[in-house]
Amino acid sequence: MTQAYLDSIKAVQPSLPGNQFPWLANVRQAAAARFAATGFPGRKDEAFKYADLKALEKTPFVAKPVAPASVGDLPWIDIPGARLAFVDGQFRADLSSDLSDYAKPLSAALADDEQAIKAQLDASSDGSALAQLNLAMASDGLVLRVPENADAGTIQVLFLSSGATAKAAAHISSVIHLESGAKATLIERSLGVGSEDYWANAVSTIRLERGAALTHNCWQSDSNVAMATGLTRVSVDGEAQYNRFTLSTGAASARSEIRVHVEGSDADVQLSGVQLGRARQVLDTVTYLRHDIGHSTSNQTYRSVVDDNARTAFSGKVYVERDAQKTDAQQSSRNLLLARTAEADTKPELEIYADDVQCAHGATVGELDKKALFYLASRGVSPEEARAILVQAFVADVIEGIDIEPVRDAYLKATQNWLMAQL
């Protein structure tokens, strides 16, 4: 099966943006070679223990998507700022607006100044086979580069899959670099519209220099036959802030991995997310937070709600280096099962080599509170509505932490819609 992917790499590579630069062609070839050597990760690979990637191996997702002429209105959140749309892995200028100097598609960024992103792409050779495939054949992505002390404002990005071609793949590679003191808010959503299955595979490489601050909200709402995999690598320098929220409602099988390296003191990393799974969905979140230097804080808050025969998983590892004293790393994973046939796995892991740290994790898996359900019923609330109100309360404390109102409202609405579709 690996061969079909390798053939596909060979076929698309010449047409990939920037392939005329030898360094980039080399990076891509090396990535292809690493993929060829390992093949897809199996269940024995601890980081892929809960993900369900069988479909990727069973029949290769290598078809070249042919996007229909019109994909309908795009569901932008009503918020000012740059808007970039990608359809089936290709930037679509006709669907984008208010492009800023800081945010452009990878294809354009390579044409303008390929050296500027060389370092980050060069350095992204680690990662699983999925990341290698991405590196070898990403067709486009977002490049966000914000110079020292500048504020890039809000950048909204939509990654849409047309679902018009069966077994199509879109590999998206984004490179984000905030120089010291720079600021940006990045709102991403991936979604699918058609009925055919596809694979959306996104890798983002983020570098936050001293004192930079990135707010990063993502919503994975791919179609219910899709495979959605994502990897975000973040390096966080001193005094920098990375604030990430991920809502995961879509895809037949989704896996989101976030790897953060805290490389300076007084940095602050906030990771949070909500997974809502139903039918036979498998939604998997994997985080790895590494504190190399002390006096920084990290906080992870994840919630999953699982119904029917769906499965969600959260594996969160916190690694604290020996010299990273006074690290404060907290992690909470709470899971709500709406059906006896649903499954939620949670695997917190602390690996700590410093002795003067504050690290804690809490994980729970439970059902709806029967007393609360009765209380609501005794006041006239129907069982369906009672369930909805309690599920919303369960995820609300995380979603309400999003301080951009239109984004928060959009995610609350998405939760509500998910619940209504359940009734």
Binding site: K370, R379, G380, V381, S382, P383, A393, F394, D397
Partner: protein, 246 residues
């Protein structure tokens, strides 16, 4: 209004109520008193249809309608209200949201339009004020961090807003200081009316000084062992349950 006939209720296969009958006409307030564990709360839960309270025999009718046919939320929509002895805490759900959802659910059941946000706000603020509940508390999660007395007041605010016709109040007086007891009693009295009825479940006769019952019943051994006027409550207080129930 409420007619309970030969009611048998089992909890976890243990029979708690063993043939209880009670008839509360519209316009009246009845009180049920009885020792701890007599089955008073069980009666309240059975009336409201809580899971796990199995009716093995008997009937419950509200104005001629068979309540046993209805789900708990439908009974509430039909105008039955149970004030809980131990109100439940619901983190993350504000009192406002809780009550607006309840109110609109009941309206939907009756085929009515949702209440407008403005009208609802006016209504709930007015009722909270009547019952001495701080408006700020309406925004807080249902009963979370509330004292025992505040929880009971909150039950009364809910009752005032939902405006039921049959009110069953389970130990609403426990945990209240004397001032709160007066406020809550005023609230109960304000809800009395020719087309409404109230069943006060209480352990102490204290509440009955403020809310005058028409009839007092003594529950013991799973049935009503004695019924009488308000003077029965005073006798119970003086002589104890053992003497009366014997």
């Amino acid at each position: 209004m409420l007619k309970i006939t030969d009611l048998h209720v089992s909890v976890e296969d243990k029979e708690i109520l063993k043939g209880l009958s009670l008839d509360i006409p519209a316009g009246q307030v009845h009180a049920i008193m009885g020792p701890n564990g007599a089955g008073k709360s069980t009666l309240g839960y059975a009336l409201s249809g809580r899971d796990g309270y199995e009716i093995t025999a008997g009937s419950i009718e509200l104005d001629g309608q068979d309540l046993l046919e209805l789900e708990p939320h439908e009974r509430a929509a039909e105008g039955l209200f149970l004030g809980l002895q131990y109100p439940v805490e619901i983190p993350g759900v504000s009192n406002m949201n809780f009550l607006r959802t309840a109110m609109n659910s009941i309206r939907k059941y009756k085929g009515e339009e949702d209440i407008s946000a403005g009208d609802f706000l006016k209504l709930i603020r007015a009722k909270a004020k009547d019952l001495g509940m701080d408006a700020e508390m309406l925004k807080r999660s249902v009963n979370v961090g509330f004292s025992g007395g505040e929880k009971k007041r909150n039950e009364m605010v809910q009752m005032a807003v939902l405006d039921p016709r049959m009110m069953v109040l389970d130990e609403t007086d426990s945990g209240l200081d004397i001032d709160a007891l007066k406020v809550v009693s005023d609230g109960i009295n304000a809800m009395r009316g020719a087309d409404k009825a109230t069943l006060l479940i209480t352990h102490y006769q204290r509440l009955l000084d403020y809310v005058k019952p028409d009839v007092v019943h003594v529950l013991a051994g799973g049935t009503i062992v004695k019924s009488g006027g308000p003077e029965l409550a005073l006798a119970l207080e003086k002589d104890g349950y053992a003497a009366i129930a014997a």
